[in-house]
């Protein structure tokens, strides 16, 4: 997917010359050292810890340093049920993370409320307030599924462009890096969803 054509590159490599581009080097560095924010909500957090433990070692992908403070984290793994009382805190943590930042929405609860969807205090999915990069279904998703999500995120980072129209979100000036924190209302969070982030699927209703 990079703009160097492959035959030339392999031909040169046979001659012992290694060719790369600034973008590939930048993405290679970012992709292999993603520091997740230490931030578990519920049962999925225990599977996340099991993934970081010795058997399903996430260190093979460069992600084993879980940073407690959002100031030093690149990736927020929303692992567990997002309740309405916790939603403003999650959005504030997302805002306080430096660019470039990514979000993995782990587990059915973080995607759409999961088994606790009818709960009055449960937010029906974190993508109502913050943009999510990778969704992993499962309740809780197995550690291998979390590793797959990690590889999916690395593939997504690999395709980011440094310049030009479709450049990465954190590089283009217009893309907001902060989203409004919802306030606690009398019956529900106000606003109930962040309109420009939350785009539910369009359904043609006949």
């Amino acid at each position: 997917m990079s703009d160097i054509d492959e035959e030339l590159r392999s031909e040169l490599q046979r001659q012992g010359i290694w060719v790369t581009s600034m973008q590939e080097l930048y993405n290679w560095g970012r992709k292999n050292s993603i520091w997740p924010l230490q931030f578990g909500l519920a049962c999925c957090a225990i599977e996340m810890i099991a993934t970081a433990a010795s058997r399903y070692d996430i260190a093979r992908f460069g992600g084993e340093i879980f940073r407690p403070s959002p100031r030093q984290a690149d990736l927020m793994i929303v692992a567990g049920t997002v309740t309405k009382k916790m939603a403003p805190q999650i959005v504030r943590l997302y805002n306080q993370m430096p660019d470039p930042k990514y979000v993995i929405s782990m587990g059915a609860c973080a995607i759409s409320g999961g088994p606790f969807k009818q709960g009055y205090n449960v937010l029906k999915g974190i993508d109502r307030y913050i943009p999510v990069d990778v969704y992993i279904p499962g309740c809780p998703p197995r550690p291998e599924a979390l590793l797959h999500a990690f590889m999916e995120l690395q593939r997504k980072i690999d395709e980011q462009k440094l310049t030009g129209a479709g450049k990465a979100a954190h590089l283009d000036r217009t893309h907001p890096s902060e989203f409004p924190v919802p306030a606690f209302g009398a019956h529900d969070l106000e606003p109930a969803a962040n309109a420009d982030v939350f785009r539910p699927m369009k359904i043609e209703r006949t």
Binding site: S69, P70, Q89, L93, L171, R173, S177, E178
Partner: protein, 124 residues
Amino acid sequence: MSPPPYLFIVIFLGVALVFPIFPLILAWMWRRFFQPPKPGAEKNATYECGVESLGEAQIQFRSQYYLYAIIFLIFDVEAVFLVPFAVAFTGLPIGAFVAILVFLLLLLEGLVWAWSKGCLDWAR
């Protein structure tokens, strides 16, 4: 004509300056041309476990900390005075040794007074 003896230090200082400043310039250029900074009210707020921080940080601490700081300062300064004495220790006459001993004992006596006064024990 052998190079002036201090050239080595000048080169060393030059390299020592260039090494940190070059990445800083690189970072500044990256920030200037590639990645625009996006500060915000919420992003620059103090991070306190995801919650708006309660109370303000600059408050008046217990006076006991002040005593601790003063005692530490005294013994820190004492150590500074001991360094030249220790370096030139072998060539010194007996008089210098007695003088430094008096200096040490004076300070030790101050520590014993502070200890007996009880400003070192930490009340729960």
